[in-house]
Symmetry: C2
Subunit: 406 residues, 2 copies
């Protein structure tokens, strides 16, 4: 097993991997890489003169270049889907339970690749490379702010395609993504059907319907209300941290369920009670559970950018599989066999969304399967509960027959 | 049938009723009345020197004063539960399908009464009388703002009790409320068990759990982010309308369900599509469904007050049946037979909340029933779908035996 992963200095990376190789026998070590392109045409007809995005890969590309699995990431995520940047890393990539040597997405067999989105939320994370409203507009030498073009899920897909083509890849073995990543996966299958023989949608949807569009708007509203936001021109002054923190509070709760949330309220570190004294006495004080949610959100906000959040919300709101007039015309193009894995208690992208896409595909005579991820963590099960579906995913990727599990 | 309802001028009201009596044979005509008290002690130990609240009644108080049904209202509502202020009124009170002559809550039989809450949201509605942060503090001659004490569901109950006692009433036939009104109804039964032989909780909860508390916090956040809010001292300047409008957008969606919401998106006046041109081209434009939600919210905001919304959120967050240390101790006190009517697709106060309270009561050997309101309008079914449970409610109030319906 060798993971020769290169960023800026190929030699440094090789040196690091060699140095660590004795520790890394079971550990997937990874380095963020960078892809650049110019004059990228967006789906809405605009041009981004300079684009740079990060990407990661796990496993080795074979000679035929036909062992590629593309992983498309979720809203608050990036291309760090598996592995660690160093053996000391406390946290591995988000789907490390799924991706790695001898795991369901077996890096002894597949070359697994993932790409940071445009307008990636974690723009201040040193392990994210992205282009978005916080990037410098080469025409002005200043951050784009809201002059950055509206980007879509299709644009994320097209950047991924450019990364793959730069590696000489012309077809995928599969595309697999959760949540916003599922939208990209479905758009891949609908838009480039000859690239995609297998598609797995985890906690996903074939389109943003009216409900989802309005629900996502909630994440934008607090940012736009923050007086520091300044119509997106805050890069010389204080950032709209209060609005961004509020948005992240909403995102966190939306991705969970009452059962899980209430178990947090009753955990050792916090004994939530409706009649806590501070909020009873003072309208400006908050309940312990609200403070918990806020402190987590504030910590996450430090690496994120508020404008990027607005652009990601918009990309999701604009999503329709195939980016055509309706869902049917997008899904009709799909040639992949598909697997949908909604989460039982998902309140953000509720299971009906996956069922709608799945049933529509069946009605067109397509090969589609569906299974449900159980568990009390709602939408988040698509990330933290993925191991429960490892066998089904492995069998699906291997073209073995496996019964639908619910 | 005579509805002699008095506000300020008893004579004017009598005159109006007489004048309209020829039109009013099937119509319940009602006038908002006013109750005032002084030095009201709040649950958290503070004092409100002058309190005025509005109230309405339907039907006639009998000589024994034992035919009283108290209706407790929901978050965005007021005491206008039934009837019209004039025959020309386009809209009757919110539960007019339930309350009236020969209806499930039969005003030929019962004296039905309802009281505007403290810090009522509709403070600028000419048919609402309330005392809250927008009221003048007699000590300063200026609006209270955030110096108004935090008030609780218990305080609403205690004001209602004072209104009832002012009429010589010492016991209820029943208390019935939806949503926030359900919290008041349960608190009545837990706190004044000898007053309450029958309690009906519609789309309700026995307490605000961690999930509900955080979900409600979302309604406050946009108001606090609005730069016009000024820590609640906005009564001399522009009101935080943008924040209040955002809160009302959240409330509207929270009270509905995807199925209903998506049917709006596909209605004649609006053909929602993810790829609408305006939001695709411009990050500052919105989808039609968002504009619809916003325009409705903005219209409602005109009669409402942002600080009042913060205080109502807090009253709900602080709710525990009986306002004691835990749910069990509150529910143990209940002597009423109880009926819980959660709504099938409620995403705001989900059915598990009603089931928890109901099951706990059963575990204490109490007489409790439960039924589910079907329909696609989510939480809102507790208001607009109440007629579906009219028979069950009528039988429950009449002590007839009726099977639980789901």
């Amino acid at each position: 097993m060798k993971y020769l992963i290169i960023r800026r200095s190929r030699y440094l990376a090789v040196f690091v991997v060699l140095l660590l190789s004795s520790f890394a026998s079971a550990e997937l070590l990874v380095v963020k890489q960078k892809f650049e392109t110019t004059n990228f045409k967006t789906f809405n007809g605009e041009t981004i003169k300079q684009v740079a995005v990060g990407w990661e890969s796990y496993g080795q590309l074979n000679n035929k270049k036909d062992n590629v699995i593309l992983i498309t990431h979720f809203f608050t995520g990036n291309s760090h889907a598996a592995g660690k940047y160093s053996p000391e890393d406390k946290q591995a990539g988000y789907w490390d339970a799924l991706i790695g040597p001898d795991k369901a997405i077996d890096t002894n067999k597949y070359y697994v690749i993932s790409v940071d989105s445009l307008a990636n939320l974690g723009v201040r994370d040193p392990n994210v490379i992205t282009t978005g409203p916080a990037s410098i507009n080469p025409d002005t030498g200043k951050p784009y702010g809201l002059s950055f073009p509206v980007v879509t899920i299709r644009d994320f897909v097209n950047i991924q395609k450019a990364v793959l083509e730069s590696l000489g890849i012309k077809k995928l073995h599969a595309v697999v993504g959760a949540s916003m990543g599922s939208m990209q996966a479905i758009d891949w299958a609908a838009t480039y059907p000859y690239w995609v023989p297998r598609m797995i949608s985890v906690v996903g949807s074939g389109q943003a319907d009216a409900w989802v569009t309005s629900a996502l708007e909630r994440w934008s509203i607090p940012i736009r209300l923050d007086s520091n936001w300044q119509q997106g021109n805050y890069y010389q002054g204080p950032a709209p941290i209060a609005g961004l923190t509020a948005a992240l509070m909403f995102i966190t709760q939306d991705a969970l369920s009452p059962e899980f949330f209430n178990s947090i309220g009753q955990s050792e570190n916090m004994s939530f009670s409706p009649l806590e004294v501070a909020p009873l006495k003072d309208i400006n004080q908050s309940h312990s559970i609200v403070l918990w949610l806020k402190s987590r959100a504030a910590a996450r906000a430090e690496l994120m950018d508020a404008n990027h959040l607005l652009y990601l919300v918009r990309a999701n709101q604009l999503f329709m599989a195939g980016h055509g007039n309706d869902l049917n015309s997008g899904l009709k193009n799909i040639r992949a066999k598909t697997l949908f894995l909604p989460a039982e208690k998902d309140l953000l992208l509720m299971p009906y969304l996956a069922y709608n896409a799945h049933q529509t595909l069946l009605s067109f005579g397509k090969n589609s399967q569906i299974g449900t991820i159980s568990g009390i963590r709602g939408h988040l099960e698509g990330v933290v509960g993925i191991a429960k579906k490892a066998d089904q995913i492995a069998a699906f990727l291997a073209d073995e027959k496996i019964k639908d599990k619910k």
